[in-house]
Symmetry: C2
Subunit: 186 residues, 2 copies
């Protein structure tokens, strides 16, 4: 598995069940959202703009993509401001087949542009590590089948000594990418 | 990391926040429990009895241990029959430093004795795969720090084509093993 194959398998629309654990307060939260993952063109102005603003990492980029998320509900808290919708552009810059960098226009933990390191474990799990201003985050994403994937995340304090939050999402593909739909009809 | 080190780090008492996802019904459940993991003596009669009943796997066993779990609450369902308490004896039989078998007196998914295969990923995550009569289960357990670990599980249909349930637990050590406590006081 390399990052190009991983993103290709991820393209489409996913219904995500996500549980969050706040360890200090022993609080759970849960949410259902719809994720839409779509490949972008290499010359998309938004891709070129994001690359220009993050020109530090050298190397060719590959498979730039767009993620959009919309929550369907958050019945535990009834607090629509907590997690509603958003979008981010992501650009992988592979170092080799197994690891590289990932530029994001909007980070996972803090809502600022971010630069993650990624690598693959030997069971094809994708691991993303991101140092933010106040936190450090490790995300893992792995496929259970073509249409089901899992995503765990851990938010550490910046020095990585304390674990603040964990989360886990189970994602089921509800709509394939346009490419796959065309293939299915041909 | 080998299985002996992994079990040694796991010994003690853990408060576990666990979220379950039923994919077909989009249902969440959540529970807080207390896990107690304790090493057993090699000549403990319960260990010898379990080994005798599972004499198919050849090789020396190592670090037999006992897990006890007690739920504190399940406020989503108010159904105390769902998950309350239980215990299991587990006996690892390493094939080499990286993989082996695990005998359990009580399986994770089905309440019968079970035999799992275990292996370690290259980030020291322990993976357990178990074929039950009606299901196939994959569990992953990994340490975030000395006192925090995560556990994910996936329950597949027996032919491994469908994913029925996933779960994720965040576990915080609340009491160390007796050995560690003695060391701290010496």
């Amino acid at each position: 598995m390399n990052i190009e194959q991983f993103i290709s398998r991820s393209e489409g629309q996913w219904r995500s069940m996500r549980s969050g654990h706040s360890l200090a307060f022993q609080q759970f939260d849960q949410i259902i959202s719809l994720l839409t993952i779509k490949l972008l063109k290499y010359n998309d102005p938004k891709v070129l703009e994001l690359l220009k603003a993050n020109s530090k990492e050298e190397g060719d980029f590959i498979s730039p993509f767009h993620i959009k998320w919309e929550s369907e509900s958050d019945w535990d808290n009834n607090d629509s401001s907590k997690f509603n919708s958003g979008q981010s552009i992501l650009i992988p810059i592979p170092k080799n087949n197994n690891q590289g960098f990932l530029i994001r226009s909007l980070g996972y933990t803090e809502s600022t542009p971010s630069l993650s390191k990624y690598c693959f474990l030997n069971d094809e799990t994708l691991v993303l590590r991101t140092k933010y201003e106040k936190t450090f985050t490790e995300e893992k994403i792995w496929f259970l089948s073509e249409n089901v994937r899992c995503r765990s995340s851990v938010i550490y304090t910046n020095n990585q000594e304390g674990v603040m939050q964990t989360s886990f999402a189970s994602e089921v593909k509800v709509l394939k990418s346009k490419k796959d739909q065309t293939q299915n009809h041909s």
